[in-house]
C-alpha cells in the first residue's frame, strides 16, 4: 500500500507536466480546429465562433494546401527509400570484415546527424550555388551542365532530399549496423560452404534477418520526413513556385504568420491523420509479406 503510493509520487511530476503541456494542448488543438480562431479572437475571445468542419472543408479547396501536401509526399516517397538505401549501404560497408579503421569511419559518417540542421542547411545553400557551388563544380567533371538547384522548381526538392540524406543516413546506419552484428555468423559460414555468392548471401540471409529492423527504421524515418520544415524555411522559403512548401511550413504560416490558429490546428490534424494512416499501412503490409 505504501509502495503503491510512492510509485505515483515518483511519476506524478512527469505525468502532470505532460498533461499540462501536451495532452491539454492536443485536446485544445482539436477543439480549436472546429473554430475560426484568428487574429481577432487572439485580441478578444468573444470573437471566437464554432464553425464545425469548415476549416477542414476549406483546406480541401485551397490549392496551396494541396501543393504543400503533394510536395511533402514527394519528399517522403523519394527521400525515405533513398535515405534507407544509403544507410544500409554504409552499414554493410562498415560491417564488412575487410573494412579497416571502422571506428573512425563510423564516427565520420555519423557526424552530420549531430550537427545543427539550420547551420548545415545554410552551408548546403552555398554548396548548391549555381555558379560558385561545389556540387555543380564536381558534376562538371562528369560533363553535367550547371543546375540551378534552389532556383529551379524541378530541382529544389531533389536538392533538399540530397541534404536530408546526407544529414540523416548516419542515424539509421548505426541501427542497421547493430542489427547486422546480431545476425549469427554460422548462417554465412554455411552459405559459403554451399558456395553462395555475396549477392545471394545478402538477399537470402542478411535482408530477411534485417526485415524487422528495416520496418522499424522505415516507420521512424517516414514519420520524421513528414515533418519537413527547417530545410525549406532556411534554403528556399518554400519556393521556387511554392515547390518546397511543406504541410508543416503551411501550418506555420497559417498559424504564426497569419494568426489563423484554428485553420493551422486543422492542418496539424490532417498531417497527424495522414502519418497515422501511412504507419498503419506500413505495418499491415509488413504483416502481410511476413505471413506469405
Amino acid at each position: 500500500m505504501k509502495r503503491s503510493y510512492a510509485g505515483w509520487i515518483f511519476v506524478a511530476p512527469a505525468l502532470i507536466a505532460m498533461a499540462v503541456f501536451f495532452v491539454v494542448p492536443v485536446a485544445t488543438a482539436l477543439a480549436m480546429s472546429f473554430t475560426d480562431f484568428d487574429i481577432y479572437a487572439l485580441a478578444d475571445l468573444a470573437n471566437l465562433r464554432f464553425v464545425g468542419f469548415d476549416n477542414y472543408g476549406r483546406l480541401l479547396h485551397t490549392p496551396l494546401f494541396w501543393q504543400a501536401l503533394l510536395n511533402t509526399l514527394y519528399f517522403v516517397v523519394l527521400g525515405v527509400p533513398l535515405s534507407i538505401v544509403a544507410s544500409l549501404g554504409a552499414a554493410l560497408l562498415l560491417h564488412s570484415p575487410l573494412a579497416r579503421l571502422k571506428a573512425f569511419y563510423r564516427t565520420a559518417l555519423f557526424a552530420p546527424v549531430v550537427t545543427t540542421l539550420v547551420a548545415v542547411a545554410i552551408v548546403w545553400r552555398y554548396l548548391l550555388h549555381p555558379r560558385y557551388g561545389w556540387l555543380n563544380y564536381m558534376l562538371a567533371a562528369f560533363g553535367i551542365d550547371p543546375i540551378d538547384w534552389l532556383g529551379d522548381p524541378h530541382w529544389a526538392m531533389p536538392a533538399i532530399i540530397l541534404l536530408s540524406v546526407w544529414k540523416n543516413f548516419g542515424y539509421n546506419m548505426i541501427i542497421l549496423l547493430a542489427a547486422l552484428q546480431a545476425v549469427p555468423t554460422e548462417l554465412y559460414e554455411a552459405a559459403r560452404i554451399d558456395g553462395a555468392s555475396a549477392w545471394r548471401q545478402l538477399r537470402d540471409i542478411t535482408l530477411p534477418a534485417l526485415a524487422p529492423v528495416l520496418l522499424l527504421v522505415s516507420v521512424l524515418t517516414m514519420a520524421g520526413h513528414f515533418q519537413l520544415f527547417a530545410e525549406p524555411y532556411v534554403m528556399t522559403q518554400g519556393g521556387p513556385a511554392q515547390r518546397t512548401l511543406t504541410v508543416l511550413y503551411f501550418m506555420y504560416e497559417e498559424g504564426f504568420k497569419w494568426w489563423s490558429l484554428g485553420s493551422a490546428s486543422a492542418v496539424a490534424f490532417v498531417l497527424f491523420a495522414i502519418m497515422f494512416t501511412v504507419t498503419l499501412l506500413q505495418l499491415r503490409v509488413a504483416r502481410y509479406t511476413e505471413a506469405r
Partner: protein, 271 residues
C-alpha cells in the same frame, strides 16, 4: 580477395570524404576573406586565413548573446529533463503501483502524435501566462518526455530487485533508496539522457522560432536563420556563424559518443 578488400576500403574512404566535405568546407570558407568564395572554380582553402568573419560576427552581429542563450536554454533543458524523467523512468521499471503498466502503455501510445499538433494551443497558453519571449517559454517542451522516461525505464529494469528489497528491510524510505542506491547505478543512462537532451535542445528550431521573437533572447539556430536572410551574399560570414553553431555540439558528441550511441540504440532497436 585482395581486390575486394581494396574496393571496400576505397568505397568507405570516398563515402567518408563526401560526408565530411561540407563540414570541412564550412570551416575553410569561414576563414576566407569576404568575397573570396565567389569565384570559379570554387576555392578549397583560404588564400590567407583570417578571423575577420568571426570578429564581425561577434562585434557587429552580436552573436555572443545568442551563444549564451543557446547554452543556457540547452543546459536548463538538460537539468529539467533529468529532474522530471529519472524518477518516473525508475518508478515505471521498479516500483509497483496500481495502473502502472496501463499508464506506461498509454505514454508509449502518445508517441504517435506529432509534437507540432500541440504548438498552437501551447503558444496561446504561454501568451496567457506572459511566457512568450522568455527562456521559460522555450523550455516548456523539454520538461518531461516519453522518450526520456522510456530510456531510463529500460536501463533501470536491470537493477537487481534484491538490492532494493534489502534496503527496504533496513527501513530505508523509497526516496532514500532512489537517491543513495538507484541514482549511482543509473549514472550511465543519466549521461546518455543528458547528452541527447542537450544536443536536442541546442539544435531545436521550430519551437524557439515561434516562441522567441526578440533577437536578444533567440537561440543560435533561430538567429542564424534570420541572419542568413539578411546576409545572403556574405558567404564567409554565414560560414563563420555555422561553425560557431555546429562546433560546440560536434565536440560534445565526440567526447560523449559512447553514451550518445547507447541512447540511440536503446531508443530504437529495443523499442
Amino acid at each position: 580477395m585482395k581486390l575486394r578488400s581494396v574496393a571496400v576500403n576505397v568505397a568507405l574512404a570516398t563515402l567518408a570524404a563526401l560526408t565530411l566535405f561540407p563540414l570541412a568546407w564550412m570551416v575553410a570558407a569561414s576563414l576566407m576573406a569576404p568575397g573570396e568564395t565567389n569565384v570559379f572554380p570554387p576555392p578549397l582553402l583560404p588564400h590567407s586565413a583570417t578571423l575577420a568573419n568571426y570578429r564581425e560576427l561577434f562585434a557587429t552581429a552580436g552573436i555572443g548573446r545568442q551563444i549564451a542563450n543557446s547554452a543556457l536554454i540547452a543546459a536548463c533543458a538538460t537539468v529539467l529533463s533529468l529532474v522530471f524523467n529519472l524518477g518516473a523512468g525508475y518508478a515505471f521499471a521498479k516500483l509497483h503501483f496500481a495502473g502502472r503498466d496501463a499508464t506506461f502503455r498509454t505514454l508509449l501510445g502518445a508517441l504517435v502524435i506529432p509534437g507540432q499538433v500541440a504548438m498552437m494551443p501551447l503558444f496561446l497558453m504561454l501568451k496567457q501566462l506572459g511566457l512568450v519571449n522568455t527562456y521559460a517559454g522555450a523550455l516548456v517542451p523539454w520538461l518531461a518526455s516519453v522518450f526520456g522516461i522510456f530510456l531510463v525505464r529500460q536501463y533501470a529494469l536491470s537493477i537487481p530487485e534484491e538490492l532494493l528489497e534489502a534496503a527496504r528491510i533496513d527501513g530505508a524510505g523509497e526516496l532514500r533508496i532512489f537517491t543513495t542506491i538507484v541514482l549511482p547505478l543509473l549514472t550511465p543512462i543519466v549521461v546518455t539522457l543528458a547528452v541527447l537532451t542537450f544536443l536536442g535542445a541546442w539544435n531545436d528550431f521550430m519551437w524557439p522560432l515561434i516562441v522567441l521573437t526578440d533577437r536578444e533572447l533567440q537561440t543560435l539556430p533561430v538567429a542564424l536563420a534570420g541572419l542568413s536572410r539578411e546576409h545572403v551574399q556574405d558567404t564567409e560570414l554565414m560560414m563563420a556563424g555555422s561553425v560557431v553553431t555546429v562546433l560546440p555540439v560536434l565536440a560534445l558528441f565526440l567526447v560523449l559518443q559512447r553514451y550518445y550511441m547507447q541512447g540511440l540504440l536503446m531508443g530504437s532497436v529495443k523499442g
